[in-house]
Symmetry: C2
Subunit: 381 residues, 2 copies
């Protein structure tokens, strides 16, 4: 109990677990946290192929925007719960993780401003707003704005770390740098280490028994579950890049939505968050696009989104936008696309659950992880 | 005039042309045919990278289904014209190509049957229909049917060949096995030949002047135009495979639409035509899918469409469906996705036109090619 296995030098003796959570991203760590809260005597193992959170996953590149925009009535409860977790309003008994600490990126009540070409219900003249960077948008094309003061920015990576720490404090074990795949009776672990020549090798393999397994492996989860359990899922995935737009921002700059794009103030500039139009096909390898024949690092489909927004947001046509020379120059990650578009969980066998976050995990993810925890406890008892 | 340059042994002396049509697929050949009809003294060159029609293009794998289903009012004229061209009802003066000849795959008035889970306007009980292969569908899940008697099947490849022959008879030149790209003053030609060691090499390069250039290069057209002209287009493309379903069919078997799929009677069986849900991303290389971890030749997204249809169409779950072991085992081709979804043309510069067919070229393509011909004649005069 409370063991953290970060590297293979730490001996591990496999014993049966009640629950194994496969993936220490935002969804998996929150599920582990809520499980330990509800069932303090649970033997739980949380594991990840990389660190906490994994540097290649969606957690570390998630926009970190909580907003109630577009949340339908039946998901309001999940959204409100998620917001209260993020702001630190939830008590410990409710599953709260407290306020962000001195080492965390802060949670900021920035609000969200939608810039609109036409007046709409609740809109105001854009000229009445402060805090919008000059030169970002064309006020002739976007003369109206709608304010969403409850929106805030936060760090999904910090929240994930705090949730994992909470689970471990409550008695969970945590193993990092381990590949895992579901088996009929639990999971198979392959602990990874790095050789002198920087090759990643499997140090040891364990068969672990587990009463319940939660596959929370992000965009790779559906394929992992399918390949090892023989089920078929209809969830998909998409590769999203968030190029940086170097216009000055401050802690008071709001999140901005305009012309189909979301601009998230981040580290003195903006991260441009493009819409997800549809899944990427099986076998797609992210590729930089071409613009009139010139290669850039941003994928072509997102380039077209940027081009469509150019009149309304002329700053995108300047050197302030970092397009990169290859796809690795523009931060990007695979995002799960759960069927239906919202974070969800699904029972795949008598013991295996699939947990998916995706694009809207920022808005309702904690609420969904908490619901899954209640389900797993019921099934396991 | 009337010259056919099939291989590099036939000497070609570049002279200025009034119109060069870049691509001898279904859209390009029809445009050439209508141009020569309207302007018999036109110096026109029709060219293609491969044969007639190109074996790698969308023409040769097009479903060859004319149907008025889903054609909106403003496109009815184009659709009716296209149907009359296909059936041979159009007079020569109107642009008709006559009846299909003894070497062509025949045009057959099969009609189309939509199988429906619920009664709808104009539907009948499916039990009243003959000519549906036993075992194909579940009549409990699809008890209703709607008939579209005006639908027919034809061979886009035959129609394309006849249109090219008509253009050449009327005075056009035709060059095959030639790479071409638009230039500011016309096109650059690179005539291809094959060495003793089966390598394809460029035999000779020509700069050709042309008053008007029609880029009708199918799914590759937008990128070709963009890379050489420096414009940006928002058209896209998708890779579609049509697996074969080996259930017996006859010339009287109707086209069948059910559970999102179209089944086209073809050579004693069916070709399964999946829906196009969205574009494939730039850089995507078609890849066979996996089903519960087992590799097959059909792409994953289409596999999922087939799986969704399995209850309604149980024949898809039998060995009658050929899934292949690799992507090359299942006939497939890149399809242009014109913005807006319908065949269209667009002026890209003072002399370059982009002509796109795509999924609905079977239904309205000839009507659109004829309209472009009228536009080009106007611009050229």
């Amino acid at each position: 109990m409370n063991q953290v296995y970060a590297h293979v030098g730490q001996a591990f003796t496999p014993t049966p677990y009640d629950v194994v959570v496969l993936g220490a991203g935002r969804m998996g760590t929150l599920a582990a946290h809520f499980l330990m809260l509800r069932w303090p005597d649970l033997r739980l193992l949380l594991l990840d192929q990389g660190g906490l959170p994994n540097e290649e996953g969606a957690t570390i590149l998630a926009p970190g925007i909580w907003s109630g925009l577009g949340v339908p009535g039946e998901k309001r409860g999940q959204a409100d719960f998620t917001r209260r977790l993020i702001t630190g309003e939830l008590s410990g008994a409710e599953g709260g993780l407290g306020l962000s600490g001195p080492n965390d990126a802060p949670t900021l009540p920035r609000g969200l401003v939608e810039l609109l070409p036409e007046a709409a219900a609740g809109s105001v003249a854009v000229s009445t707003l402060g805090n919008l960077p000059p030169g970002l948008f064309d006020p002739v094309l976007l003369p109206y704005a709608r304010l969403h003061p409850d929106a805030l920015t936060f760090s999904p990576a910090s929240l994930t770390t705090r949730a994992a720490q909470s689970a471990v404090r409550a008695g969970a074990d945590l193993m990092l740098n381990v590949e895992a795949r579901p088996t009929p009776t639990g999971v198979e672990l392959r602990r990874l280490s790095v050789t002198n020549t920087h090759r990643i090798v499997v140090h040891e393999t364990h068969q672990l028994e587990a009463s319940q397994v939660i596959v929370a492996a992000g965009a790779g989860g559906p394929a992992l579950a399918e390949n090892t359990l023989g089920t078929v899922t209809h969830h998909a995935r998409a590769y999203r890049q968030g190029p940086r737009l170097n216009l000055p921002t401050s802690d008071a700059t709001p999140i901005i939505r305009a012309a189909g794009l979301t601009l998230r103030p981040h580290a003195g500039g903006f991260t441009v968050i493009p819409p997800i139009h549809h899944r990427d096909p099986h076998g797609y390898l992210p590729t930089g696009g071409r613009l009139s024949g010139v290669p850039v690092g941003l994928r072509r489909e997102t380039l077209e989104d940027v081009l469509s927004a150019l009149d309304a947001l002329p700053a995108l046509g300047t050197e302030a936008l970092e397009l990169g020379r290859s796809v690795s120059d523009v931060p990007g990650t695979w995002l799960a696309l759960p069927e239906g578009g919202w974070p969800c969980y699904q029972l795949l066998s008598e013991r295996h659950w699939l947990l998916l976050g995706g694009e809207r995990a920022d808005a309702v993810g904690a609420g969904v992880a908490r619901e899954l925890a209640a389900q797993v406890v019921q099934s396991g008892r």
